[in-house]
């Protein structure tokens, strides 16, 4: 007989139901299937009304983050075999409003992304013309920020963050890591502008360094590390400004 597995899936349609509920589906168990394959099987073969986001199914588009047995996971990179034969519980990422079924509302993150100015900022008159060629950047300089540039915006770190769960004014792990990605880029001169957001009360000081964000990150971005580095450099800024005003000119 074919092996099967049960998935208990969070269902909620705001225009039709007052309360979320769980619905259990039985799917074939295959060694090489990921949780997303099982969910696609449900959508195609059992219940067309289930809504969720997905696209690349190779861990790079960042669409398919969900809670799998209470842990934030990319479902395209989470294998059924690691749970078999137990039932798997699939829910939308925690810490976000639910739009429908497994689809979260991520407006807040999109807003914060823009806030931290995730683009190269050059001082007035210091932009290099295209004819001047590329900015030189050594492999060592690239290494300074490379890790923070690997974020796929999958939102797992927000779902894991205990601070964001209590206070969604917190800028949060991925956005801070991204700010740090530009701050550490040798081509960028915009750190001061970003620090206004990052070092504010909604920013890095709220992080209690639980480090859950870095644990769940599927791309080893280490947002917790970015937050710590950001704290250290902000503190140095403060010392420079207050204690040594003549040397306190920020770069």
């Amino acid at each position: 007989m074919e092996k099967t597995m049960k998935l208990e899936i969070f269902r909620y349609r705001p225009d039709q139901e007052d309360q979320p509920r769980f619905q259990t589906y039985e799917v074939p168990f295959r060694e090489d299937w990921v949780v997303l394959d099982a969910i696609n099987y449900i959508k195609d073969e059992i219940d067309g009304t289930l809504s969720y986001r997905w696209s690349c199914r190779m861990g790079v588009c960042g669409s398919c983050g969900m809670m799998v047995n209470g842990i934030p996971k990319l479902t395209c990179a989470t294998f059924l075999k690691d749970y078999y034969p137990d039932k798997i519980r699939v829910e939308p990422l925690t810490g976000f409003p639910v739009q429908r079924d497994l689809v979260i509302v991520m407006d807040d993150f999109i807003h914060k992304l823009r806030e931290i100015k995730p683009w190269i900022i050059r001082r007035e008159g210091e932009e290099k013309p295209i004819e001047g060629g590329e900015y030189l950047q050594t492999p060592a300089e690239l290494e300074q920020y490379k890790q923070y540039s690997m974020c796929i915006n999958c939102m797992l770190c927000y779902a894991a963050c205990p601070v964001y769960a209590l206070d969604n004014t917190f800028v949060g792990p991925a956005a801070i890591a991204l700010a740090q990605r530009y701050n550490m880029d040798s081509r960028d001169q915009g750190r001061d502008q970003r620090q206004e957001i990052i070092a504010s009360h909604e920013g890095i000081w709220e992080c209690t360094f639980v480090g859950e964000c870095s644990v769940v990150c599927p791309k080893a971005v280490d947002p917790a590390g970015a937050i710590q580095r950001s704290k250290v450099s902000s503190t140095i800024d403060w010392y420079k400004e207050v204690l040594i005003p003549w040397g306190g000119k920020k770069r």
Binding site: C56, C61, T138, K146, S149
Partner: protein
């Protein structure tokens, strides 16, 4: 479905991948007074540009030249590319790539800080810029993040475009389904740029993400614009069996080899040159063996299958991509994503074991017929990127030209659309609103409030993809294509009985799946009928009944026009400037 609203913009960009973002930024920079709507059915960073791995080609090194890049591209295209477009593309490529560098793209570097390049298939000189093996990911995030800096670009994220609106003989906007509310809205625009990517999902086995369903191609097609060269579908030679996950050509650019079940480098039997030992410092030799063009490598695989020299697995026949001789250090530095993907999805660590691979549908050379400015035949309508066919790719695209193409022609189309919008300020808003109401009624009647449907979306989709593979795959013939054309006509008929169980307005993905299937059936028909009409073999289009190239009859682009029945196929001449057609030679 409630009331509808009208949004008014100067330029509407449909699609938030590389081409769409580049186009939107080009409009914003051309004239900061112009308002741009960037409409995407997913958040832009989910767009499939994200999955591109190997790199983007542009001439920047002293040993290279524009003419070399042109001639490689034209040879790769089997002379079906328009040479004026190729020359423009090659000339614009370096400044576009430098622009992206200035915007922060983390290109891999040489020790002196200059941008590094790597060899790629079909390219005589190494000119492929790369960001390790996540080039598309980094380009997309750089473009998306940079786009946030422009106040005159408004993002309509998770809005599913359904129709191009034509009034007074020109394109004046689109209708789109706001996924959150389930409402159809009119987004009026003095110019519209289609940047919705390809349609690999019409095939069952593809590297393409779920979202690549040809939406924008069909929006233009239904507005009367031709789809050009749709029969040319690229199979990438190295996908993981089962999942279709792409193993980048950069793996071969860095020295990886392809071997059959006997450990033999079979490409030497298919007129692709002779292999050098992997320990030879001259390996890999550009434009030979593993660095031949994708169409020839995929064909060689099929011949190996016929000879019984491939391996068999749970997901059919495959060969081995062997990277072991590269060593752990090089793999981790140059192609770490290859290691991550192989290990996770195939259970194979390429440092120690060869990777099982087989050809997989990867890219549409064809698309919306545009001129060199990205303008379609419908005034006010433009297209760029994989959705468009300019054409620089002809019958076979060279690896690492597509990422550059979406920058070059995204920017060109953006600037052209900005000019058009400035010159055509008036909008027929009342008529557009009427069209919006009609579209809302169509979606309601045919889908969301439809009763008595019984055909499941997934069933029809599976039958469509199956017939595309069996009849319009790597090898085609009149018999196989006719069978596919008939099957597609049957599916088109059955589609009118589509079953929609989900009556919710909020984020109804059963509805969007049905809309996508509707669009894909049009794409599939355009591909199959264009392939049936082209009775020659050229590049990726291989007819077993017409094995030779026929320049006399078919040095022409095919143009598919939509009708109520089978598409009407016409032809137009290829533009030849300096590279007259010749034998397509690799490795000798």
């Amino acid at each position: 479905m409630g009331n509808y609203e009208t949004y008014k913009y100067d330029v509407v960009v449909v699609g938030g991948g590389g081409a769409g973002l580049r186009a939107a930024i080009a409009v914003a920079e051309t004239n900061p007074a112009l308002k741009v709507a960037l409409v995407s059915k997913v958040y832009p960073m989910r767009s499939h540009t994200v999955s591109a791995e190997g790199g983007a080609a542009a001439v920047i090194k002293e040993n290279d030249s524009f003419d070399e890049h042109c001639s490689d591209t034209i040879l790769g295209s089997d002379w079906l590319a328009d040479q004026d477009a190729v020359e423009l593309f090659v000339k614009e490529a370096p400044s576009e790539m430098i622009q992206l560098e200035h915007w922060g793209c983390p290109w891999s570097r040489e020790p002196n800080g200059k941008v590094a390049v790597r060899p790629f298939g079909g390219m005589k000189i190494e000119r492929t810029w790369f960001a390790a093996d996540k080039t598309g990911f980094h380009m997309l995030h750089t473009l998306y993040q940079t786009s946030l800096k422009y106040d005159n670009v408004t993002h309509f994220d998770e809005w599913f475009a359904t129709k191009v609106l034509v009034e007074n003989g020109r394109c004046q906007g689109i209708t789109a389904l706001e996924l959150r509310s389930g409402q159809i809205r009119v987004i009026a625009g003095k110019a519209v740029i289609i940047c919705t990517g390809g349609a690999g999902r019409v095939f069952p086995f593809t590297t393409n993400g779920a979202i690549k369903t040809g939406d924008g191609m069909v929006m233009a097609y239904r507005a009367g614009v031709a789809l050009k060269d749709m029969e040319f579908v690229q199979y990438h030679p190295t996908g993981l069996p089962g999942t279709g996950i792409l193993i980048t050509e950069a793996a071969r650019g860095e020295g990886g080899i392809l071997v059959n079940k006997d450990g033999y480098r079979y490409l030497q039997d298919y007129d692709l040159g002779k292999p050098l030992e992997v320990t030879d410092s001259r390996h890999p030799v550009k434009k030979t063996m593993e660095l031949g063009p994708r169409d020839r490598l995929s064909l060689a695989f099929m011949k190996e299958v016929e000879k019984g020299r491939t391996l068999s697995g749970a997901y059919g026949e495959y060969v081995h991509l062997d990277l072991r001789h590269l060593g752990e250090k090089k793999v981790d530095k140059k192609i770490p994503f290859v290691r991550e993907l192989s290990t996770k999805y195939a259970g194979i660590d390429p440092v120690y074991e060869p990777i099982p691979v087989r050809p997989v549908v990867h890219y549409m050379m064809g698309g919306v017929d545009t001129d060199i400015d990205g303008a379609a035949s419908m005034p006010g309508l433009f297209a760029a990127g994989e959705a468009a066919c300019v054409s620089i790719n002809g019958a076979n695209r060279l690896g690492s030209n597509s990422l550059t193409e979406l920058l070059v022609f995204g920017a060109i189309a953006g600037r052209a659309a900005a000019r058009f919008a400035t010159e055509h300020p008036e909008l027929d808003l009342t008529a557009l609103q009427k069209q919006g109401a009609d579209e809302q009624e169509r979606i309601a009647k045919n889908f969301i409030r439809k009763d008595g449907g019984y055909e499941r979306v997934a069933t029809l989709r599976q039958e469509m993809t199956r017939t595309m593979e069996s009849g319009a795959g790597i090898y085609r013939s009149e018999t196989s294509l006719k069978e596919t054309c008939n099957k597609l006509a049957e599916l088109r008929g059955r589609f009118s009985n589509i079953l929609i169980e989900d009556r919710s307005l909020s984020f109804n993905t059963e509805l969007t799946s049905a809309l996508e299937l509707d669009l894909m059936l049009d794409v599939a028909q355009a591909i199959a009928h264009s392939a049936l009409a082209r009775t020659e073999s050229r590049g990726s289009h291989q007819r077993t009944d017409y094995p030779d190239r026929n320049d006399e009859k078919f040095l022409k682009h095919s143009l598919a026009f939509r009708t109520d029945g089978a598409p009407r196929i016409e032809y137009k001449d290829v533009i030849i400037t300096r590279w007259p057609p010749a034998e397509r030679v690799y490795g000798r």
